[in-house]
């Protein structure tokens, strides 16, 4: 009997020990920061929204319907923050990019407004599936091998007759691309604010500055269309310069 009791005791002990949950070891992981760049659109001193009506410096009513642009090769010296980011106000709101990085390494940034040449003519199917340059993500922002990507796309509708009838029958389409239209970006004193556990840097996009930056201006009634092709080089360059003026890294 004693032997049986001892046997039962040992057997029970083995079962209990085998069922005991192993204590999980806490991995020694370095803290990873999430940093995020947002673009805050405005129209002069007013808040900006797609499909809302604003007045151009020439007095016409305009409704912007799409603002999409690429930023590529964002880095501080040799530290790369992002190879490519795609801003699409209608589909992704204010977000330009969000990634894991140490914000202190990016108090300065250089990059391009548009797609730099080495990326612009690469096979668009070969980029990783999560890259904004992959053809499935680029979608309407890719033309083909020779012109490459559309660097930025601004579409709007204009009402040129102030008669109270909101006709908005003039189409505005600025589709700017090709290597000559690339613009450089840089800032030497970026501000990162810790918000909701993320370090956020906010750029501004002033669509009033896009229409008139003090140096040059676009009259949307007469200058309303470019696909960056032959014959529209001057307007393409002007639109490209004005868009660069409108985008401000902070």
């Amino acid at each position: 009997m004693t032997v049986k009791i001892k046997f039962l005791f040992v057997f029970s002990l083995l079962i209990v020990l085998s069922c005991k949950k192993k204590k999980e070891q806490t991995p020694n992981v370095a803290t990873v920061e999430t940093i995020r760049i947002e673009v805050s659109p405005k129209f002069g001193t007013s808040a900006f929204h797609l499909d809302s009506v604003y007045q151009t410096p020439e007095g016409y009513d305009v409704k912007f319907t799409d603002i999409i642009f690429y930023v590529t090769s964002l880095k501080n010296g040799n530290s790369v923050l992002s190879n490519a980011a795609l801003f699409n106000l209608r589909s992704t709101g204010n977000l330009l990019l969000e990634t894991n990085a140490n914000h202190a390494s990016f108090n300065q940034l250089q990059g391009f407004l548009g797609v730099e040449s080495t990326l612009n003519h690469a096979d668009p199917s070969a980029f990783p599936t999560n890259s904004p340059l992959n053809i499935m993500n680029a979608n309407t922002m890719h033309w083909g091998w020779n012109p490459g990507y559309i660097f930025f796309k601004i579409e709007a509708k204009l009402d040129t007759i102030n008669d109270g009838n909101p006709l908005f029958d003039h189409q505005i389409a600025f589709h700017v691309g090709t290597d000559n239209a690339i613009q450089s970006l840089s800032s030497s004193n970026l501000t990162w604010n810790l918000t909701g556990g993320k370090y956020v840097n906010t750029w501004t996009l002033d669509m009033l500055t896009f229409l008139n930056d003090g140096v040059q201006s676009i009259d949307l009634k007469t200058e309303n269309f470019t696909h960056s092709g032959t014959g529209s080089e001057v307007l393409t360059q002007k639109v490209s310069d004005l868009f660069k003026s409108a985008v401000q890294m902070n």
């Binding site: 049986k4 499909d51 319907t65 096979d123 668009p124 199917s125 599936t129 992959n134 053809i135 499935m136 979608n139 309407t140 890719h142 033309w143 083909g144 091998w145 020779n146 579409e155 908005f168 029958d169 189409q171 505005i172 389409a173 589709h175 269309f225 696909h227 960056s228 092709g229 032959t230 014959g231």
Partner: protein
């Protein structure tokens, strides 16, 4: 203690006598993604298997999915017509016609929405619709599944594909979706031209095809992607020969079919329709969402001089206000020659895509 021993022996006997459950191990389907294509995003819950694709192929050609057992998916998506319908409108089992042309089923694994108005976001959801549509196959899925369950062949096919005897419409749609994702077209003359432009290493056979591309075909391609030429490439480019978006391509000044607006209720989407691929366009006539153009010549004439302005006209159509890109007869001929390079005979005639019965 003795009782414990007896109980223990009984448990052992019970476990030892339990019947083994029959279980079929599915075989992953090795879908070859063409080198110049982006990766296909396949839903994790419906990965391709040999068994699933085979079942889907049978179901695609299965007429018992329709109310009177007279129509299958293939009735309106014929392989010989690039998996579309050569009729302007398809006619359902009750003799009622729809009001849109059947879309060609090509490279569906890269699409992000389905139907001309994009009302379904996944292939699996799209597949469920034609069976129950009263002007198409007009059958309830319950009846359709019951007919399949009465057939031993299907009981085995479903069991091998999904390890269940209690299959339903979701299993059927998953299987058809698997089959449709294998319908990859990537072996046209255009593919060789595209790969050569992007610097892909070509096989000797591909180099032979490249050498056969005529100067007129290259000139047609130049026109196709020229801003001051035919200007087609805004909506039709890349290996898929399409972009995933909706467009009003200037068919009507006062459109009767509101297209995408019927889904979104947004007037800015009026008369916008899914941009289709141009692959195998030689075989997918008639053209446009309503099949109004019987020939490619009519399509080219539309973009050349037939564009109608309306509030939602696609801003990519640069010369819309002039009625189109104004091609002359020579340019139209060159453009036609390029469009025919998009024909993929290997795809059209692929035995794996044909009726298995």
């Amino acid at each position: 203690m003795k009782y414990l021993l007896v109980i223990f022996v009984f448990i052992l006997l019970f476990l030892g006598c339990r019947k083994d459950k029959v279980f079929f191990e599915t075989t992953p389907y090795a879908l070859e993604i063409p080198s110049h294509f982006p990766q296909m995003q396949i839903p994790t819950e419906n990965q391709l298997t040999e068994e699933g694709v085979l079942l889907g192929r049978f179901l695609f050609y299965e007429k018992r999915l329709s109310g009177d057992n007279s129509q299958s998916c293939a009735s309106c998506h014929s392989p010989l017509a690039a998996f579309s319908d050569p009729n302007q409108y398809s006619t359902g089992i009750d003799g009622i016609q729809g009001d849109r042309n059947s879309m060609a089923l090509i490279n569906l694994g890269w699409q992000t929405f389905f139907f001309w108005d994009g009302r379904e976001k996944t292939l699996e959801e799209q597949i469920l619709q034609p069976v129950i549509n009263p002007i198409e196959m007009h059958e309830s899925w319950k009846n359709a599944i019951n007919k399949l369950k009465a057939d031993e062949k299907y009981r085995n096919l479903f069991f091998r594909a999904f390890n269940t005897q209690d299959f339903d419409s979701t299993h059927a749609s998953k299987a058809i979706a698997q089959f449709l994702r294998t319908l990859v077209s990537a072996t046209s003359k255009y593919d060789i031209m595209y790969k050569s432009i992007y610097g892909f290493t070509l096989t000797p056979q591909e180099n032979t095809i490249l050498a056969s591309v005529t100067p007129d075909e290259w000139a047609g391609y130049d026109l196709f992607k020229s801003l001051n030429g035919a200007d087609c490439f805004h909506c039709h480019n890349g290996p898929l020969m399409q972009i995933n978006t909706f467009s009003n391509n200037g068919l009507d000044a006062n459109p009767l079919d509101f297209g995408r607006e019927l889904v979104t209720n947004n007037p800015n989407d009026r008369a916008k329709f899914k941009v289709p691929t141009l692959r195998n366009i030689e075989f997918s006539a008639p053209y446009m969402h309503d099949g109004r153009f019987a020939t490619l010549e009519e399509v080219i004439n539309h973009y050349s001089s037939g564009i109608q302005m309306s509030a939602t006209i696609d801003p990519n159509i640069e010369y819309a206000s002039q009625g189109g890109v104004q091609l002359d007869a020579t340019q139209k001929s060159l453009l036609m020659k390029f469009l025919l390079t998009l024909t993929d005979h290997e795809f059209i005639n692929n035995p794996k895509f044909q009726d298995p019965n």
